[in-house]
Structure formats: C-alpha cells, structure tokens
C-alpha cells in the first residue's frame, strides 16, 4: 500500500520510491464540480514546494494546483488533458496530474496522512 500525503490546499502526493505522484483530492474534485480542463507542467520543470504547478478548471472555478513537495517533473498525465473528467471519476487513480522526483523527502512530514486529512476536512464543515 503506497503512502499518500495531503496538503491543506487539497493536493495529494502518493509516494512511490523516491518519486511522488501528484493530483487533487477526492474532496477537491467534488468541490470543483465537473472538471473541464487540466493543464500539467512541462516535464523537466523544477518545482519548489508551494509553486503553482498545474491548473484544474471546472465550469464554475479555476484552481491552481500547488506543488505539495519540491522536485523535478519527470512525467505528466496526458490522458487528463484530453479527458479531464477522469479527475472527477478517479482523482486518486487515473486522474493524477504529474510525477516528480522528490528533492527532499523530509518535506513530506509537514503534509497530512489520510486520517489527519480526514480530520482536517471535518473542520471545514
């Protein structure tokens, strides 16, 4: 079972070895509604934690996706660009956005694990 961490901006990063797969949480996709567009960062881009990295748009809102951890972009999900609805159907699976080579695994400790994120969502009412 791969480890998954969440940011307060509702990005997730799933840790797979020294790499992280980034997307938006299931809660985030529900809040946005039907996603109609996703823009991923260029492969090779060096991201710092908190940098705007991708854009997800629904009919009613456009949202920046911030890098939950630092690292170089090593792959992007071209499937979500052509079929953005995947983010609604399977945010944590086929709706991933990009993959980074984690620059500093220690950064992950400031993110929430699943139970902590679930508690965090409760505070949002």
């Amino acid at each position: 079972m791969p480890e998954i961490r969440y940011s307060k901006d509702h990005e997730y990063v799933r840790i797979e070895g020294g790499e992280g797969v980034v997307g938006i949480s299931d809660y985030a996709q529900q809040q946005l509604g039907d996603v109609v567009f996703a823009e991923t960062p260029p492969v090779g881009k060096a991201l710092k934690k908190g940098d705007p990295a991708a854009v997800v748009e629904s009919v009613k809102a456009a949202s920046d996706v911030f890098a939950p951890a630092s690292g170089e972009v090593i792959a992007v999900n071209s499937e979500v660009e052509s079929t953005p609805g995947l983010i609604n159907e399977d945010a944590l699976g086929r709706g991933w956005l990009f993959r980074i080579k984690l620059a500093d695994p220690n950064e992950l400790s400031s993110l929430m694990d699943e139970p902590a994120y679930a508690d965090f969502l409760k505070t949002l009412g």
């Binding site: 009919v59 009613k60 809102a61």
Partner: protein, 447 residues
Amino acid sequence: MRYLPLDARERAAMLTRIGVPDIETLFADIPADKRIQGLLDMPLAKSEMAVERAMTAIANRSLAAGSAPFFLGAGAYRRHIPATVDHLIQRSEFLTSYTPYQPEIAQGTLQVLFEFQTQVAALTGMEVANASMYDGSTACGEAMLMAHRLTRRNRSVISGGLHPQYADVCATLTHMAEDSIVRLPPDLKASEDISAEIDAETSCVIVQTPDFFGNPRDLTSIAAAAHAHGALLIAVFTDPVALGAVRSPGEMNADIAVGEGQGLGNGLNFGGPYVGLFATRTKNVRQMPGRLAGETVDAAGRRSFVLTLSTREQHIRREKATSNICTNSGLCALAFSIHLTLLGAVGLERLAKVNHANAVQLADRLSAIASVEVINTHFFNEFVMRAPRPAAKLIEALATRGVIGGLPVSRLLPGAGLDDCIIVASTETNTEDDRAAYAQALADCLR
C-alpha cells in the same frame, strides 16, 4: 420626467413600506459634509423636442461624409450598409438585452455569436474566432499579450506598415506591462526586412496587410521566419472587405489574425463603437481573450448555444485571467454578421472588386495630374499619393472646395518625413462624379 414612472404618492408609499421618513435617510451612509444638493451648474430636464433641437444643431456643425466626395480611410471606411442591417439591430431583443448569462432566454444572441465566430474564422482563413473585441486596435494589443502568454516571451516586433495608432496602443501596453517592443520605422513601400528583426527572445511579429499605406503584403516568409525562431505571426487588417480580394492571414500561416470589422455593417461614427475581430488556431484557444459562444445541448437534448470556456475570464480567474476585458462589441458584431450574411461570399467578392476597381480608377485619374505621383505598385482600395505641397495644407484646401481627399500621413506620423504624402481610399460609395470632382479640385489646388 418622461423616463421616470414613479410619482410622488407612490414614492411616499414606498418610503412608508421601507420604514424611513424621507429619501435622504436612505442616503445616510454618505458622510453629511460630502452630500450635495444637486448639480447646480447643469440645466434642468428638457423635452424630447428640445433635446432633439439642441443635438441636431451640434450635429450640423460637422460635415457628414455622405455629403461630399469622400476619400478617407486609414482604418475606418465609409460603406453602403443595407437598410436591413439597421432595422434588425434596432429590434428590442437585440438592442436592449444583456450579455447572455442566462442562455435559456438568450439563444438569439448566442446563436448570432456562434454564427459570427464561424464567419470571422472563414473570412480570415483561421480555425476559430472569438465573439469580438472592442475594436481593431485593442484586438491587436490583446493579440500581442496573448502571444506573450503562448510563447512565454515578451518581445514584440512591429512592422512599420502597421497603423500608427495600433502601434501606439501596443507600445503603451508594452510599457505598462514592462515588456519589450521593437517598432520599425514607417515603411511607405513595404520594403522593410522584418524577418531580420526576429530573434530567440521574440514573442511575435505584428504585420498589417493591406498595410497602413495600402500595400498588400506577402506574410508567408515572415511566418516561416517567425516560426523558425519559435515566435508567432500576428496578421492585422483594417478593412474586412479587403479579405474578399486579397490572400487571407490563414492562407499565409498567421498564428493570430486581428482586425477592424467596422467596414461591414457599421458606420463611421467618428471612430467608435467599432468591432474588433480576433481569430487564431484551435490549439491556442485557451489563451485567447474575449468571450466565446459554444454549441451544446439542453436538458431536452436540443442543440443550444452557451458562453463557454469562461474560466479564462476575470470573474473566475481574477488576477490570473487571460485579459481584463469583459465586454465584447455585441451589437456591432451583430451588424457585421448581418451585413456579411446578406453579402455571402459572392456578394463580398463582388463588393471587394468594386472597391478595388474604384480605387484603381481614382489612382489613374489622380496620377494623370502633373506632379502627382501614386506610390504603390499594388494596392486594394487605398494608396499613397505624393504631391508637391504639404499634405495637411492640401487636404484643408481640398476640404474648402468640398472634397475630403484622404489622410495627410503627417497627422498620424508627424516628423516621419512623409509630409507630402496622402493616404487616399475609395469604396463602393464613390462615383465617377466624385472622382472627377476630386481630380478637378486637386488640379485647382496645385495650380
């Protein structure tokens, strides 16, 4: 006051329902020392007849283009507009509706916009067009900013054949956005080598055809040079009717085509309101500014139209929006669309041919006058005439003889060394008598 339905008794009843003693109480949040008792310097309300009388008196102090032999273009063109156009755009449902935010009760406007977008794309030879911009000059500025977003560069190269005021708009935007710009000097004979100015930092090249001086330009090699450097070609035009006769921006591989649409459906109106046309390649659509109507279905499965991709717009994106613009030029776009629908490709091509024919005949007549020279080798309906007199004075002298003879280049390009040049335009509205009157007046002035 004829426009205000409430009367004193009703106002009193409403105040009672609200529960305040008087109207001033409703304005209590305005600091007391900042309230005024009225607009003391202004006259009181006038009857419709009185306003009409006053306005007509002012209007009579301008010369209407239709009342003189008229040969002025330079970005705005006098056209015969079918009576149908003005009749239709004055229908309440078009004239007095808002931006179609409730598509269930705005399909009329939305379908018009969808048709307009398709017409503009076809006319420019591009793949997709927006629902219009303010005018040609602002469309040009927006195209430059769009190119910056697409290329992630910020240096634009501007042809010396671009309408000087369009170039000024780009320069102002560039200065304010802290980008960089290269403006080539005024290029009377389309002889500049703009491709040489393109480098690896260049975001876009902006070239007008037919240019400000009337020369049609081949953009194909400029497009190739731009693309070789990862830059974009923005093609500009100022008269949509020209596209009925000359090669389209799309044919010449432009990435963005922008232009002034006034020349179809819209009067001169002393410069506005006009309608900016904006078209590009499908792959660039998410960086395109302005509104877009798109096709979809309603809950009953019927084809319908709706404003779409609005997440690009500022009401959602705020500081990340593609542009700060939130209006198009809806009614002018409608007028443009109706006129073009009436023309169809057949009518447009014929209209363009008449414009060209009239200009050729005029050029022949004027250049027959001793000491008058027509500069252009090729032109559509506008050309530069050189005469041995300061052009500004010559135009004034022609005006006193009742002829509006064109634009002295020095009016828009003072100090460019083109003080003896006049840009002369002809449209379908000019007759053989007009041309004869112009030639006669010009010969008299030069005598």
